[in-house]
């Protein structure tokens, strides 16, 4: 599981940090790791599990604090755990061109096509270029 901070209104990723989940020890694993026999109690094990929960909450809170420090308001953001599959969906949205960038690119392509058309027409008028449609129809060959 990874952690992601999203801007609610736009769905924009503010930040991602991988990992953060705590691998909890089973009762047996945990009891073997405790040196003092008197500390091997159900109560102490529950305290250990609560510490794991608190650590995970703290790690998720890291992204929230980062967003607040960057100027976002708490109600503007959502901080959550994401699976690998969920992260791939989010990641696919990153670095996509904006509508303005797409429009600018389309405009650039149109301008280049128009300039090429004008240049070709000029060359045809000067007799330096055979129109492509006449070549295609077999009426003329390339010079």
């Amino acid at each position: 599981m990874d952690r992601a901070c999203i801007e609610k209104v736009t769905g924009k990723l503010i930040e991602m940090q991988s990992g953060g989940k705590v691998e909890r020890l089973s009762w047996m694993e945990w009891s073997l790791s405790v040196k003092e026999p008197k500390d091997r109690s159900e109560e102490k094990y529950q305290e250990y599990l609560a510490e794991c929960d608190a650590l995970e909450a703290s790690r998720l809170d890291t992204l929230k604090q980062n967003a607040l420090n960057a100027g976002y308001k708490e109600e503007e953001i959502e901080v959550k755990w994401v699976t690998n599959e969920e992260w791939q969906v989010i990641e696919a949205t990153l670095n996509q061109p904006t509508p303005e960038q797409i429009a600018a690119k389309e405009k650039e392509v149109l301008i280049q096509a128009k300039m090429r058309e004008m240049a070709e027409a000029e060359l045809v008028a000067e007799g330096k270029l055979v129109p492509a449609e006449l070549i295609a129809e077999g009426k003329l060959t390339e010079k």
């Binding site: 924009k12 940090q17 990992g19 703290s58 790690r59 890291t62 960057a70 990153l94």
Partner: protein, 190 residues
């Protein structure tokens, strides 16, 4: 048994029981006093110093724990991925989930058709080398991460401000703003 040197006593040629007794000199620096101690208490002291630490997982390494009062086995190496947007505000950013306090870091930041930077940082020495679009190849010894847009007109850089108990904090700064996001791979050493 009076007036017998320890070297003259019969040797216990087997592992002592926890209830066996040894002689020990207490408070050597103050008022030295000969006392007895059980093997159990002696073993407890050795365990807390790490000398009697149970074997850990395969390929784990021995570290002093965060409190500095006992030894522990741990991996001591973590790889984590984070993101950084080129329109994010300058300032300190915390990264957590490492599981220990790192002492050194290697960063590899990259984005297709834009470039990569490779940097290292232990707060004492740091540096970054980059290859970006349009032959933009900054090399710098003041930062450990450098990211830039395709035109190299917008860029951000960072260095480690602090190593924390569960991660680290980067101080980010830069020039301009653009809505693109870099992936940064972090290799952290305890």
């Amino acid at each position: 048994m009076a007036n017998v040197k320890i070297t003259e006593l019969t040797e216990l040629s087997e592992t002592p029981d926890n209830t066996d007794l040894l002689e020990i000199v207490d408070d050597v620096a103050g008022t030295p006093t000969s006392k007895k101690i059980t093997v159990a208490n002696l073993r407890g002291g050795l365990a807390s110093s790490g000398a009697n630490l149970a074997i850990g997982s395969a390929n784990y390494k021995l570290f002093v724990n965060a409190a500095g009062n006992a030894a522990e086995w741990a991996k001591g190496i973590v790889v984590m991925n984070v993101t950084r947007a080129l329109d994010a505000a300058a300032g300190d950013v915390s990264y957590s989930g490492v599981g220990f306090k790192p002492s050194s870091a290697i960063f590899v930041a990259g984005l297709s058709n834009h470039g990569i930077s490779i940097g290292m940082d232990n707060m004492t020495a740091k540096g970054v080398s980059c290859v970006f679009a349009a032959a933009y190849t900054p090399t710098n010894n003041d930062f450990s991460i450098w990211i830039a847009n395709a035109g190299n007109t917008v860029y951000q850089y960072a260095f480690i401000k602090s190593f924390d108990s569960d991660g680290f904090t980067l101080t980010w700064a830069g020039v301009g703003s653009e809505a693109i996001t870099y992936r940064i791979r972090c290799f952290l050493l305890r």
